[in-house]
Symmetry: C2
Subunit: 333 residues, 2 copies
């Protein structure tokens, strides 16, 4: 794979060109998890788009078409969750290779519908095309109260960084699906489920967005190191990461492959947990209420600080974090 393009650089370049076409109703353009506009005075709409490509994001060996449909939908829902938005509707553009039959497309759509339905996301239209490999582009629209809409850029030095769940399980599930490792139950099922049927944190996102002490939010779909670095850059800050909440199955997978368990959380990606920056003094209270509301902890990861870049450690014993997360132009399955 030629690695002359870096995703963030390309986005920055394209943003400049597209910026010249921005219009009055648009409140937030390229660069966050989703774009925001204002269809009427009282409403903010949020729109996000995700593309999954066979051979890049999935293979037929490791995922069924129903799982692919689910995961595409979960990725879109996760982007809406990161904006604190309520899912409304989505469109689906499919590129279909010759060796995919109607049954497979039906399975794909069933996967989409089974993930979309409970989240309140209506599938309202799409486009069909031939393509050399299975390609799915989903576009989702949500709605949010203007005061609740949380961006990547709201974090400030001193804020606590936290995530809504343990990370790395999806990567462990990919290892299992590929046959690279063998895990015992229940870790095996936990890993496969995280990979094939990930849950977007919609309720968590809406709840966190409604807290005034939560100042920035984004999803963690490209790995903690890549995504936290993006939040930091948008917020004009750096971060010192003290604890990395890693899923039990990811630790087990890393041990088998003699890899660093942290790398599963930092660079694994596709976990769809949310990253938040919360005012330091409010964090304990917010985390306690989160635990009561969702029955799971809001995991403290570290703090934002004025020095740019990401570092791992505490109290003077720090090492920089390699930004080896998922770059869609460098990586491939």
């Amino acid at each position: 794979v030629k690695r002359n393009l870096r995703e963030d650089d390309v986005v920055a370049q394209l943003q400049k060109i597209a910026g010249s076409a921005a219009a009055g109703a648009v409140r937030l353009g390229i660069g966050d998890d989703a774009a925001v506009w204002q269809p009427s005075r009282s409403h903010r709409s949020v729109v996000t788009t995700d593309m999954l490509v066979e051979g890049v994001h999935f293979t037929r060996e490791t995922m069924g078409f129903d799982d692919v449909g689910w995961r595409t939908t979960a990725a879109s829902l996760s982007d809406l969750a990161a904006m604190g938005a309520r899912p409304v509707l989505a469109t689906v553009a499919l590129g279909v290779p010759n060796d995919v039959d109607l049954d497979s497309l039906i399975a794909l759509y069933r996967g989409i519908a089974s993930c979309a339905g409970p989240a309140g996301l209506a599938i309202v239209g799409g486009d069909l095309s031939r393509a050399p490999v299975m390609t799915i582009a989903m576009n989702a629209v949500g709605e949010v109260r203007a005061s609740d809409c949380k961006l990547r850029s709201g974090g400030r030095p001193g804020d606590v960084v936290a995530v809504t769940g343990r990370l790395g399980a999806s990567r462990a599930g990919l290892d299992v699906a590929r046959g690279s490792i063998a895990l015992d139950e229940p870790l095996r099922s936990e890993a496969l489920l995280a990979h094939r049927r990930p849950q977007a944190r919609i309720e968590e996102g809406r709840w966190l967005a409604a807290r005034s002490s939560v100042r920035a939010m984004m999803d963690c779909s490209d790995g903690l190191s890549t995504d936290l670095a993006r939040l930091c850059r948008s917020s004009g800050a750096g971060a010192l990461v003290g604890e990395i909440p890693t899923a039990e199955c990811a630790v087990a997978a890393a041990l088998q492959l003699k890899e660093d368990p942290d790398s599963y959380a930092l660079a694994g990606g596709e976990d769809f947990e949310l990253i938040v920056a919360c005012r330091r003094r409010a964090f304990t209270h917010v985390a306690a209420r989160f635990q009561r509301r969702f029955g799971r902890p809001l995991y403290r990861v570290g703090v934002l600080r004025s020095e740019p870049g990401l570092a791992l450690g505490a109290d003077g014993r720090e090492r920089p974090i390699d930004l080896a997360g998922w770059d869609h132009f460098a990586g491939s399955v």
Copy 2:
């Protein structure tokens, strides 16, 4: 190319599955040019998605990246025009093969921005991925007054069918770009421009949508025979086509290739004119006002009737029209 899937059949199947996930705010789902929902009492939003795939919809030999960006945008704008909507914003998901560099992506985005800007369409976000061939999925959102929103299904037997411009020029432009034919100026430029820089009929769409006598509208991007057949099926009618307004360059191209000029209009596709069904008694008046407003005729094509299917001719001398338009699962460039 395996031809076991027909686009309209697939859409019908997927519609059934997706229909179960439809929600309250959604006014119109899969099957029209765009989906419609109601973000607040006074507004209707319209959303549409289009995917362009290298080798299926374009090749680098016949179109530059800037033209590809333009045409993707024109296709989305045309879907909004068909709903009578004002363009608001769009997102772009790009699948990028290894041999496409940043300059090409910038050219693509410049093409997008140059088509989007004058139409008031803001490019607000996107997604980037590796892919085996250049793949562009655009999603566009527009707004329309509830009373103006015209669907495919509103036509009734007796209505006059008309189109907003002559057809077939884009197909002639493809012939020129491929080097299959040589046309003299100005026909050569007219054909190439129609293929590479097609104009969506946004103002025409909004104007026609505001006429109460216009009962159904859609765009003609897959060729008149395919698209008029879709309008007829949605409206529970058939159509007798009397006149086919064919672009001068398409007639010239057909003559050179010893093909039927009508086939350029009926099956060429990518023309982005609008098809309307208009109450018979109002048509002359609407067409006269259209001519004054836009300086071009509203071309009468035929009439809707209760017999299903499409036929060509008049006064008892009819022949059925072969539905050989563009099927995205059958055709390829």
